[in-house]
């Protein structure tokens, strides 16, 4: 970070011109976000079929048929996810850096990253391995297939509550910040996120209806709010990086 802005005069001829652009390090990180969210969409929607989630109220035979039909794409999709899931941390690091520029303790930035690590495990990795195990041997006892199916989707949708801390930390940091790094309306938007995330927990109770894991409220309203929030933060990060002075000192 600071090395890039401090060094250019001395090594001007030794380095390619594009690396001498101010804040090029942060811009590279920023561009990974739109690229990797598109890849995540491709993996979850087209290949692994967890978005939109398949129905919770189907018979064991239908679940076995689901795994047989999508066995190959589920395994390809989650194999790709293993490579790309780590890139979520680049986006999160970028947001954590902006939190560090705020007039709040860096503990908010650490908590932001930590909360996402907690959520990433049940939200991505546990469901991935449950589904891959199902797709790996679809000729198992159908009841075991039902368990892997439930495990994947309960974990994938039901873990949204883990992201409440992330949104609370971000909202509180923005409310307390006097440097106006990110606008206050993003903090209010994070409150919508908390509400929709709380409404994902009832998927542990209902097997059909609006609060099941494929429900209009638990899944679709929550996802719509998330998409709006995600577009907003990608755009606001762009503005925040643009407004950041290349020589600004950031707290450790």
């Amino acid at each position: 970070m600071s090395a890039v802005s401090a060094a250019p005069v001395v090594t001007e001829n030794a380095r390619p011109a594009w690396t001498r652009r101010p804040k090029i390090d942060q811009w590279i990180c920023w561009w990974t976000i739109p690229i990797f969210y598109n890849l995540f969409g491709l993996i979850f929607v087209v290949l692994t079929r967890v978005m939109p989630p398949p129905r919770p109220d189907i018979t064991p035979e239908q679940i076995v048929a689901f795994f047989e039909t999508h066995s190959l794409t589920i395994r390809i999709g989650f194999a790709l996810l293993m490579f790309f899931i780590g890139f979520a941390s680049v986006a999160n690091g970028l947001i954590a850096l902006q939190i560090k520029r705020m007039s709040v303790s860096p503990v908010f930035a650490y908590a932001y990253i930590g909360a996402l690590v907690v959520g990433g495990l049940p939200g991505c990795l546990l469901p991935a391995f449950a589904f891959v195990a199902g797709a790996f041997r679809p000729d198992r006892d159908p009841q075991i297939m039902v368990m892997l199916y439930d495990w994947c989707l309960l974990s994938f949708v039901g873990s949204l509550g883990c992201f409440c801390t992330q949104n609370m930390v971000l909202a509180l940091a923005i409310f307390l910040d006097k440097n106006d790094i990110l606008p206050k309306w993003l903090a209010y938007m994070s409150i919508w996120m908390i509400v929709t995330e709380l409404l994902a927990s009832p998927v542990f109770i209902f097997k059909s209806g609006p609060l099941a894991w494929n429900g209009s409220i638990s899944f679709y309203v929550g996802t719509a709010v998330f998409v709006v929030w995600e577009f907003a933060i990608i755009r606001l990060l762009y503005v925040a990086i643009k407004n950041q002075s290349p020589t600004e000192q950031i707290q450790d």
Binding site: M189, I191, V195, L198, I205, P210, L211, V228
Partner: protein, 198 residues
């Protein structure tokens, strides 16, 4: 509405320009939250249409009188909060603080009444999973209760800013009031849909 505000601001002599009460950030929240709640209300209506008999017979178990008292308590709290905005604009901070506390206490009464209502329902075996009507009942009142609790935090911030002469800002009091009125408005719609509509 806008006219009376402009007139009052003029009387105070601070500014002559009409303005949006509170700030645009809070209005983004309020309008977006209303859209999200509207989607819940539409989904409720669709399920109610599909299971009309279940919904009508389950509705008989709700106590209309507690619903009415809850509504009156929230309307009273909104009146307190609105008065506190007027008094803050007029510079009468002591009275504004007392009315903000009054609004907050009404919010606490609302939460206690809801807790009592929920506990009697659960006592009668009417829980979250009983049927789709009670699923919506606990979900909608629960999400609204979360907003009330958050509103108490906002009113608390308003109170502490009013108490400190260095922090007093009309815009902050307006922001708290805007949020609180939204909580009130949402309750009135929930009350109409769940308790009253036959």
């Amino acid at each position: 509405m806008a006219n009376t505000q402009t007139a009052e601001v003029n009387a105070g002599g601070t500014t002559t320009r009409a303005h949006l009460p509170s700030n645009k950030d809070m209005w983004v929240f309020v309008l977006g939250d209303l859209v999200i709640f509207s989607s819940y209300f539409i989904i409720f209506e669709i399920y109610r249409h599909q299971q009309r008999q279940t919904f009508l017979s389950a509705q008989q178990h709700l106590s209309l009188s507690i619903g009415v008292v809850n509504t009156l308590v929230l309307l009273a709290s909104s009146w307190f909060v609105a008065q506190s905005v007027q008094l803050t604009r007029a510079g009468e901070y002591e009275r504004a603080m007392r009315l903000t506390v009054g609004g907050g206490l009404c919010g606490v009464v609302f939460i206690l009444l809801k807790a009592y209502e929920w506990s009697t329902k659960i006592g009668h075996g009417l829980t979250f999973g009983s049927n789709d009507f009670f699923m919506f009942y606990y979900m909608l009142t629960g999400v609204h209760l979360f907003h009330v609790a958050l509103g108490l935090v906002f009113l608390g911030v308003v109170f502490f800013e009013l108490r400190n002469p260095k922090l007093r800002r009309v815009s902050m009091v307006e922001t708290g009031a805007t949020y609180w009125h939204m909580v009130d408005l949402l309750w009135v719609v929930i009350f109409a849909l769940m308790y009253v509509m036959r």
